[in-house]
Symmetry: D3
Subunit: 116 residues, 6 copies
């Protein structure tokens, strides 16, 4: 999925889940947001941890979401590439298709943010 | 496996692999060491990323290794617990047995380091 | 993949596999069908188990297949959402993209079944 | 781990996590308990879903926990075996070591419950 | 993704990664190439091992890559189907969507190679 | 688990499963045996594929079983190490604890077979 398409789809479906889902579903979503907040570990570091976790678990949507947040929080490409090296070594060559997607999306996210 | 037992076993077997393994095996091991080195991202942050990746992939030996390194690099329990919250939410309740192991090992590692 | 497109593709490719595959392949496919049949555990409950397994293993095609079967067997949205809560907690936030897909497909399957 | 040893260890470590863990950790643990409660889907069915999810994700501690709960809720061996057939087919032969463990533990749990 | 589209995309993105990636990234890519080379185990056998690993880890891009290589190295459909039977039994029905994709791509790769 | 202990445990539990399990369970076990038999792909090659699949899926019992079979079928250590290099690169550093176990067990299996 492309960056813009993903952002729209994600927002629309999350709203649907928040409307129709059970109390437990909603609680999980709130908890999911809260663990990335500033704490003993900075929000910036946590976002990078989210990115690495998403890469080793091989989830493109999660990678795209965390790349978007990482770029908003000011990471450079060199920093992101280095963080993804950890994921690549931990997770092996099976993560390479997700690395390709990540490189592609980093470029797309930056273009989008400039044109905003 | 207990902390001391793991450290001995890990060292002994890694030496065996370094002696008998192929050139490719050795290259991978060197690469595995090098990605955690100080760079654009600090070695300290990378160790935390290694911990989170190990938890979501549910590997006790890897968790123990990274906890040991994280404690050497100065992380407090509160910081480690918060980092593991990210892994818990990303990876779900299936990671809880590994969280129990992590809490147990954090205590054991600290005791061992004091008595050294 | 959309619901209708998936159903056509799945049928066409399964037929190809049944024609060209080995005896072992065919035996596995028959076994795969037979474990969901009425037994000590009802077929209706088994379908829900298939859905939860598909969500924690994060396979959209499998989720779509089991949602379709679950809806045919009479589950309400509230029941499906609650079953998926178990998968969400067990499997963590990495399953959320599949939860979005599931909510989207539940709506699409119901529309399709009404218009049939 | 044996059944009794696991129950003691699990309780001791969960208490430690509840004492020392963050607010988020605790919230996740409460949520984890609440999704298995009676609702649109019965608690009994949810426990079986927990078992199947644990088998396909290949977590022995989780399998043991859900087997214990399933037996408390009145499932017969035949029902448990049939439920695990779904997990075996979905998850493949890689789940067989966990099936062996499950058969062993079912016997051990029943013996323990009789002698209580 | 279709075969031709994948080959173009893969080459373009790998070139971008080789240009922009870190020294570690490049080293991993070289290592990834070198482990499939002729050695004590033939390159032909290794490619089949790559295919089976890709199927049980459920990565379509990796499956397509190894199918392409396997066909170049002279495997017949019957041999590929039999190799995939091992993956199907080890990995279970959750690999079936990837088996469908593999059957589809085998046909597409062969057509493409004839028309070249 | 040690080699001898594993072989005894595996045989005892498989017999229990064959006695008490459902018809589907038994059918799956027969199918699991049959896919490794001599065919278009040799039994020897299939065993190596089973080893690689077990390593990337990170299952020690499955690794031990396939190592035992591979050694019976005549593979040298150098061949096994090279095959495991493919698994190491595909699956990444998360497989290293299983590589350590494999090296340890290869030595143990060979000693056991000499003393038989």
């Amino acid at each position: 999925m492309r960056y813009k398409e993903f952002k729209d789809y994600r927002q629309r479906m999350n709203e649907k889940i928040m409307e129709e889902g059970s109390l437990q579903t909603k609680r999980f979503f709130f908890l999911d947001t809260s663990v990335y907040k500033e704490g003993k570990i900075s929000a910036k570091t946590k976002e990078l941890m989210g990115l690495v976790a998403s890469m080793v678990l091989r989830c493109n949507d999660c990678i795209l979401y965390h790349l978007d947040r990482c770029i908003e929080l000011g990471y450079t490409n060199e920093e992101l590439y280095e963080a993804m090296d950890v994921a690549l070594i931990v997770g092996g060559s099976i993560t390479i298709p997700h690395l390709r997607y990540a490189y592609e999306m980093i470029e797309e996210i930056r273009k989008e943010k400039i044109s905003e």
